[in-house]
């Protein structure tokens, strides 16, 4: 699942990634814009997704991602992988991974590299 949380309307990257993953043979759900963390996590649980990719270009990642992580924990979605993408300052990357993001994929990452990374992350996960 590719998700946009918060009021940020930048969806170019999220849609390119969604389409690239679909073209790479994955089942992709895109949430559309302006979702709350609650809506996104509920939808991800409902769809039983392997990977939840959250895109943020607004700078609000350090407020919104902890909420997503907390909701995933509450929903016992422990084996769902959280990947964060967008405009994220380098120094925030370790902060996000320490919170529980499986990876942070930054701008200018080629679409194929995103697909490859998603496959690696899923392959490395404990079997469900």
């Amino acid at each position: 699942m590719i998700a946009k949380v918060g009021l940020d309307g930048h969806d170019r990257g999220a849609k390119v990634v969604a389409r690239s993953l679909r073209d790479a043979g994955m089942d992709v759900v895109y949430t559309g814009l302006h979702r709350t963390p609650e809506e996104v996590v509920a939808a991800a649980v409902q769809e039983d997704v392997d990977v939840l990719g959250v895109s943020l270009l607004s700078g609000a990642h350090l407020t919104l991602i902890p909420r997503v992580v907390e909701l995933m924990r509450e929903a016992h979605a422990g084996d769902m992988l959280l990947v964060v993408g967008g405009v994220i300052p380098d120094e925030d990357v370790p902060v996000l991974t320490a919170m529980g993001a499986a990876d942070v994929i930054l701008q200018d990452t080629p679409p194929e590299a995103v697909a490859r990374r998603v496959r690696e992350l899923v392959a490395a996960r404990q079997p469900r």
Binding site: G6, L7, G9, R12, A14, K15, V16, A60, E91
Partner: protein, 560 residues
Amino acid sequence: MFDPDAIERIRMMRRDWEANELSQFLLRQPESRSEYRTASGLPVERVYTPADIADTRFEEIGLPGGYPFTRGPYPTMYRGRLWTMRQIAGYGTGSDTNKRFRYLIGAGQTGLSVDFDMPTLMGYDSDDPKALGEVGREGVAVDTLDDVEALFEGIDLERISVSMTINPTAWILLAMYVALGEARGNDPNRLSGTCQTDILKEYVAQKEWIFPIRPSLRLVRDMIVYSAEHMARYNPINISGYHISEAGATSVQEVAFTMANAIAYVEEVTRAGVPVDRFAPRLAFYFIAQADFFEEVAKFRAARRTWAKLMKERFGATKAESMRLRFHCQTAAATLTKAQPMNNIVRTALQALSAVLGGAQSLHTNGLDEAYAIPSELAMKIALRTQQILADETRVTSVADPLGGSYYVEALTNRIEAEVAAILRKVDALGGTVKAIEEGYFQREIADSAYEQARRRASGAEPVIGVNKFVEPPQPGALEIHRVDPAVEARQIARLRAARAARDPARVAALLDRLAREAADPAVNLMPVTIELVKARASMGEIVARLREVWGQYVETPVF
């Protein structure tokens, strides 16, 4: 423009050159690519001659300041008046941004441009749960008129023009601007500036919306009609291609989709009975300057010619001012890279040069730290200095439309104009702009172009220096970036609560009731009641929430 015999001689000369010099040279040294195209995908010849514009009448090119305005909206262009150097700024509270404005004015900036935070853009108060983490982050937070007063404190609004980048809540900001002017004793006919207001491109590209399309268009109409009556120097809308391009559209699509939106606005206002020449002179445009230098110059020229013809032929405008396209330009943020950020200074300078050679009236040059955060003071100063160097050192301002008459630029201008016209015919065939938006036509086209471009970048077919070519290991911490003050949210919420505590609640409630009544009648102009509301210190979130009860909310079907 050319004598047919001369064209025939030129064609013969070219055939001869192709058979001799060219073919022999190609045997020794083949070209680097099998085909050459513009960034929009238009085919590009090896070299251009008068034969490529043999059918172009000089009247299509014309002279600056005259129909069809291909060469610029004014006869003297930058000799008479330079473009306005308008760096956008906005963060924190009104007084935080006021400091940045004064810094930029001190550095020689000649116009102001305000960026608002996401809650303000989307109509939520700073204490709304949806605003969490976004207050004052990507722009300045505005909840009530008090914030606009702080924003412009000590700045004479009759002497500097102010542009406000705001769309679904634009009419509230315009109301606040009017109320501020009134409180200061300004003559509304002397307030100059621009409100972006272009809601249609939000549904298409930038994706900041609140209400469904029809009531949103009505708000745009109300602003255009109000300012046509009360604000002689104000541009109530900036019909914008910038965001369409940044969302992935090609330059051809940028102009075509922007024109399609402009047509919808003109139709909306004329349907209300306002003659086109009454409001069209104050319609302003906003385009991007992308990386394909000559295509961008040709794009600006083609946009001016297209608009002039649309206004004259489609809408029957008779005043030259109604046909004269004026535009603000911003260099292309999405071309700027996180890798090797100093390279962004050079990219921005070249894009800015295309805007100037293309005849822009106002320009924002992006900061080198665009891919990191909102710009630092230093990044903005370098960007402003880039414009000042163009204006004062390069002498490109001496001649109007200096690339006019270039066989290539004229041929490309013609081609872009023709491509734009073809897209506009398609939109008409789909039933018009609003119908095309509702059916996702523009959105699909933009998503396709964005995907194509991402693939070209990934394959290296579209080189991006420092990203897919001449790559270096990253240098962490190379830039000092703007940091958001973590206390800003609490400070802003305290301001909002103080404003609410000091006002007359019965008056606000009565005005909100009047707003709801008037909103239900599409014939009423909502500007007067909104001006009363902001003066009574109603907050933006309260005004929007009340209208949401009347009009509902827009729901997008996402296309990817």
